[in-house]
């Protein structure tokens, strides 16, 4: 795993989180342990652990030929959610997360003519952008009077949604031409956008009236189209499905 270009998005979001929070806090009133009104929206910055299924298509090829296992595509993730309350117990959530794995490998079955391993690196980057509806199994807080809102301590939730996922599967290094057994050096890439569906379950723990800790497990279902006949992975699909467990800090405003 490495933190590279895709992490810039998360870093940008984190910077947004930090920069937005103070003015938001200044503008929306709060008392000692309560808000003056129910929060209209929340902003969450989260990190987690992405576990792609890494099965089928290019993954089958790679895992069969190379010393790659399913766990080699696991990666840390960073992301954020912006949620708007549309009903007392329902939010519309716009979120993204990005994860990127980097795994070194060599051919299982082949070495070069000097008995040296034939090595390569495999990168997988996934960045889903998902809009979902989140439903809480209980009130997110309690309004007392008309000017005091006290958050609930613990609220579980589920969500479903859909969107797109930006992906890139890239292998670079030395490869074996199975027809000629020539070893050649190359960088092969499959990238694009794919439709995605996501289901999730989690819970929020109130730290105080402003911040909550959000824990969530998400399952993403998405499959990248097979590359065009002239593409680097011609005919192979890229299975982008997987599970992501995350924990985040949520700001109510």
């Amino acid at each position: 795993m490495s933190i590279g270009k895709p992490a810039r998005l998360a870093a940008t979001f984190a910077a947004l989180f930090v920069s937005v929070a103070p003015p938001v806090l200044a503008q929306s009133g709060e008392g000692d342990g309560f808000l003056f009104r129910p929060p209209r929206a929340t902003l969450t910055l989260h990190g987690g652990f992405a576990t792609p299924l890494a099965d089928g298509g290019v993954f089958s090829l790679a895992r069969r030929e190379l010393t790659l296992g399913r766990g080699d595509f696991d990666a840390g993730s960073l992301g954020g959610d912006f949620a708007i309350a549309i009903r007392p117990q329902t939010e519309l959530v716009f979120g993204f997360e990005t994860s990127r794995s980097l795994a070194a490998s060599e051919y299982r079955e082949w070495v070069d003519n000097n008995d040296q391993p034939i090595e390569q690196e495999t990168r997988l980057q996934r960045t889903p952008f998902i809009a979902s509806v989140r439903h809480y199994f209980g009130p997110r807080g309690r309004r007392i009077g008309s000017v005091a809102w006290i958050p609930a301590q613990f609220v579980p939730f589920v969500s479903v949604g859909g969107g797109v996922v930006r992906y890139r599967f890239q292998q670079s290094g030395d490869f074996v031409d199975e027809q000629t057994l020539n070893v050649f050096t190359s960088t092969m890439t499959s990238r694009g956008w794919a439709r995605a569906f996501q289901g999730a379950a989690g819970a929020q723990w109130s730290l105080n009236h402003r911040f909550t800790l959000t824990g969530e497990a998400r399952y993403l279902y998405a499959t990248g189209d097979g590359d065009t006949p002239n593409g680097d992975f011609s005919g192979y699909k890229v299975n982008l499905s997987g599970v992501n467990t995350l924990i985040g800090l949520t700001l109510r405003f």
Binding site: G33, F36, G145
Partner: protein, 402 residues
């Protein structure tokens, strides 16, 4: 140190021993309300109410210029107490919150053949040290609330001796309690407790707003500038002609939205002690946006259950709607300009605002700057009481020399 000096002066004027030598009782429930209070909202300013703790109760004395005219007792143990006065009967129940900072009085009253009404009043001390009385009533439900604001009297010289004596051992402790409570914000736990005590939303809203004076608008719009309406609904015994002569600037016309801080400031500068304040209720309304059984109907606050009791002078509540200050509406501090008032010191300084102390003098020696001279514009801050100021003079403005 300044407080101690003032208290010493106060006790000296009361003709009692100094606080250090006085028999200071154990902290009594509701001690923060002890003292003699006079309306700070311009409604019935000649009347005073003295609150004396006594064995888990609060003794309430209404005092007019002829001396004590009524008294009643408010039990603080949560027991229901029967009421029977002036054709009205029912019960009341007073409870202090766990921290003792707020007093909630519930009651049910039936007057004559009228339906039974539910009444609820919350007594609190505001961050500026005022005695805030928030009350709501209604048939079955309480749709809105009105507030009244009281300030410690300037002098105890004309308070009947028996009340002065009863109060003397409590004043220092009550001042300390108020100082402590002033800095104590209403917290989420307090709100939950008030809710569990059955405090209705309109009353609770005002209690919260009073604790966060710069964050809430106390909105009394909806005809606030209509003297005719006030005339019909005041029930306070003032003549229509007097009401009609009230300057419109006192009706909040032009600045219908005020923060709690503004209210307190305006009560200070325009109501209390002003040439108009004695007759003109500041922003008094007979307006009810929720129900026809509002303050403007014959069942309004004027009914009272007895001429005394915790309702003080009975009527005269200013019905308000509380809502948070709009986003971006809060001043960043220092000062701001308010339509109809011009430049004004910002509400962010509430809690340290100059206010009348329980200072004592002969009555004539104590002065207030705001509105005390006819027609002259003043700073609106209270003038220092003679002999009680230990610091430098506040910076004030004066006309430029020609």
């Amino acid at each position: 140190m300044r407080i101690r000096l003032q208290l010493t002066i106060a006790f000296a004027a009361l003709g009692v021993a100094s606080p250090s030598a006085a028999q200071v009782p154990d902290v009594s429930p509701g001690i923060q309300f002890a003292g003699c209070w006079t309306p700070a909202d311009g409604i019935g300013t000649r009347a005073r109410t003295c609150v004396v703790p006594s064995n888990g109760t609060l003794m309430l004395f209404n005092v007019d210029r002829d001396g004590k005219n009524s008294e009643s007792t408010l039990r603080l143990d949560g027991e229901k107490t029967p009421l029977d006065s002036e054709g009205c009967s029912g019960w009341e129940q007073a409870r202090l919150t766990t921290d003792g900072e707020r007093l909630i009085v519930d009651g049910e009253v039936t007057c004559g053949t009228d339906p039974k009404q539910r009444v609820q009043t919350a007594f609190t001390i505001t961050p500026a040290g005022y005695f805030l009385q928030t009350s709501g009533k209604g048939f079955g439900m309480i749709p809105n609330a009105g507030l009244r604001l009281f300030v410690q009297v300037e002098t105890y010289a004309d308070i009947p001796a028996e009340i002065r004596t009863a109060l003397s051992s409590y004043l220092a402790e009550s001042e300390r309690a108020r100082m402590r409570i002033r800095d104590s914000k209403v917290s989420a736990n307090d709100i939950v407790e008030l809710d569990q005590m059955g405090v209705v939303a309109p009353v609770l809203d005002v209690v919260v707003a009073a604790a966060y004076p710069t964050d809430f608008i106390i909105d009394a719009t909806g005809g606030a500038a209509d003297p005719q309406r006030v005339e019909q609904t005041s029930g306070g015994g003032r003549s229509p002609s007097t009401l009609r002569h009230c300057p419109t600037s006192l009706w909040m016309n032009g600045y219908p939205m005020l923060t709690m801080y503004d209210w307190e400031t305006m009560f200070m500068s325009a109501g209390y002690g002003s040439v108009y304040g004695a007759e003109c209720p500041v922003g008094y309304l007979g307006y009810n946006r929720y129900s026809r059984y509002g303050y403007g109907n014959p069942y309004g606050y004027g009914y009272g259950y007895g001429p005394y009791g915790y309702g003080y002078q009975g009527g005269g509540y200013t019905v308000v709607v509380v809502r948070p200050v709009p986003t971006g509406g809060a001043s960043s501090g220092g000062g701001r300009a308010v339509r109809g008032r011009g430049y004004t010191e910002d509400g962010a300084t509430s809690g340290t605002t100059a206010q009348p102390r329980n200072s004592v003098g002969t009555g004539s020696s104590s002065t207030r700057a705001a509105g005390s001279s006819s027609g002259s514009s003043s700073s609106g801050s209270s003038g220092s009481s003679g002999g009680s100021s230990s610091g430098g003079e506040p910076r004030t403005a004066k006309p430029r020399s020609p």
